[in-house]
């Protein structure tokens, strides 16, 4: 089980601020992002991705571990 947190305009798309996902086979970060993109159609939204509070490359082949926390952080523009 991993937790995925959503912020800003990404959370508007997902309509939730976090969700817990379970997976049976090995899941890479890249594959998780692909799956989420298919599910929520992020399209032109840009965001950075953090695993366990650290921003990482979106094309990382990092294999997600149980209890990892992934966060999708879009840039904000208001001021």
């Amino acid at each position: 089980m991993i937790e995925v947190k959503y912020f800003g305009a990404v959370a508007e798309k997902t309509k939730c601020e976090f969700e817990k996902l379970s997976f049976s086979e090995e899941l890479s970060l890249q594959k998780l992002l692909q799956d989420l993109n298919e599910k929520y159609e992020f399209e032109s939204l840009t965001f950075s991705v953090a695993v366990n509070q650290k921003i990482v490359s979106k094309i990382s082949d990092y294999t997600l571990q149980t209890s990892d926390i992934v966060a999708l952080l879009p840039p904000f523009a208001g001021g």
């Binding site: 912020f7 840009t46 650290k54 208001g78």
Partner: protein, 358 residues
């Protein structure tokens, strides 16, 4: 120091003392943007005795600013933000120097202006300007204290601090389409809190105390009172040169798909031109031009057959962000003559007063 009684309660902090107060009095800080973030940052920097504060903004105060830009008075609606901010600061603390720049930051003025300051504070509401500030800070080697807000959430970080990571290390892909406060909505306390956190970073940098938010982005959510810090690293491949900067910000043609409304004002009666409002139907001010239709951005792709590919179309939204997305969308569908109106309905209404029903 002219009057240390004024600063006594902070001077007695062991972390500050007379020395720290002297550092504050010598510091020069440029705040870009005198909106919601600026309205929180400016009075606290001024009151703390930061020796010189530059304020840059070319906007006038609007009544819809006052709920969050709390340094402005109702009687000042219509007046220049930087002039009013300067007035407020000089009444709050006449011992410091304030310079008002009533102009937009651009590739032309950024570098020479930033050279004159120690710290650059990004209190803007525009992604493109944030990249400009970042890139200029990188070239003149100044720290950038970043803050921005989306609805009830905010972000704070310090970029290019002692050669640390930059905005591009966090967000390499420039996406000009993130919504600002005019488009997304905001309440005053969100920008106030984020601005306050930025002011805090400025003071920490000047005083050399605490841990500066370099290589970290703080994300604050005011609805559930949660804050998270995320670490990010420097990506040396993203450094830019003076030549890159000139190409990106000072070459012709990088704003070709955008048009100023005053430049096309004489075309509003032209039957060959279609004005396309991509806002939702409940948004005001209403704009009623002769040849105008409304298709909210979210329906545009489905209702694209309502438009003709060879027609000249000027697209607008509230502030010019969604209209850029719409312009790109239509261009993807082989529309050749579409342009986005810079500043959107908010800019148009000033030029169109007699045509508007509010």
């Amino acid at each position: 120091m002219k009057d240390s009684t004024r600063y006594n309660r902070q001077i007695i902090l062991p972390e500050i003392g007379e020395e720290g107060q002297y550092e504050l009095s010598k510091a020069k800080v440029l705040v870009i943007g005198a909106g919601g973030l600026g309205a929180a940052i400016l009075p606290y920097l001024a009151a703390a005795g930061v020796g010189e504060i530059g304020i840059m903004d070319d906007d006038a105060i609007e009544i819809s600013n006052l709920h969050r830009q709390v340094i402005y008075k109702t009687s000042a609606v219509g007046k220049s933000k930087v002039d009013q901010a300067k007035l407020m600061i000089s009444e709050l603390n006449p011992e410091i120097k304030v310079i008002a720049f009533s102009e937009k930051l651009s590739g032309k003025n950024a570098l020479s202006l930033f050279e004159k300051y120690d710290i650059i504070v990004d209190a803007t509401d525009n992604i493109s300007i944030k990249y400009l500030i970042n890139d200029a800070c990188l070239l003149v080697n100044k720290p950038m204290v970043y803050g921005s807000v989306f609805r009830f959430q905010g972000q704070v970080s310090v970029f290019n601090y002692q050669n640390g990571p930059t905005y591009r290390c966090l967000y390499p892909d420039e996406n000009k389409n993130a919504l600002n406060c005019e488009d997304a909505g905001v309440i005053g306390v969100t920008v106030g809190m984020i601005g306050m956190l930025q002011a805090n970073e400025v003071l920490k940098i000047i005083l050399g105390i605490g841990n500066v938010l370099s290589g970290k982005i703080l994300v604050y959510d005011i609805l559930n009172s949660e804050q998270q810090k995320y670490d990010f690293e420097k990506n040396a491949n993203l450094e830019i040169t003076k030549e890159d900067f000139e190409r990106q910000y000072n070459s012709e043609g990088n704003q070709i798909h955008e048009v100023q409304f005053d430049a096309i004002l004489n075309e509003i009666e032209n039957d060959e031109i279609l004005f396309l409002d991509v806002r939702n139907r409940d948004e005001s001010p209403k704009i009623n031009l002769k040849n105008q239709i409304q298709i909210p951005l979210m329906h545009l792709e489905n209702e694209i057959e309502k438009l003709h590919k060879n027609q000249r179309i000027y697209i607008f939204c509230q502030s010019g962000i969604r209209s850029k997305i719409a312009t790109e969308l239509l261009q993807k569908h082989q529309f050749k003559k579409v342009k986005s109106i810079s500043g959107g309905a908010l800019a148009m209404k000033n030029l169109l007063k007699e045509k508007i029903s509010i």
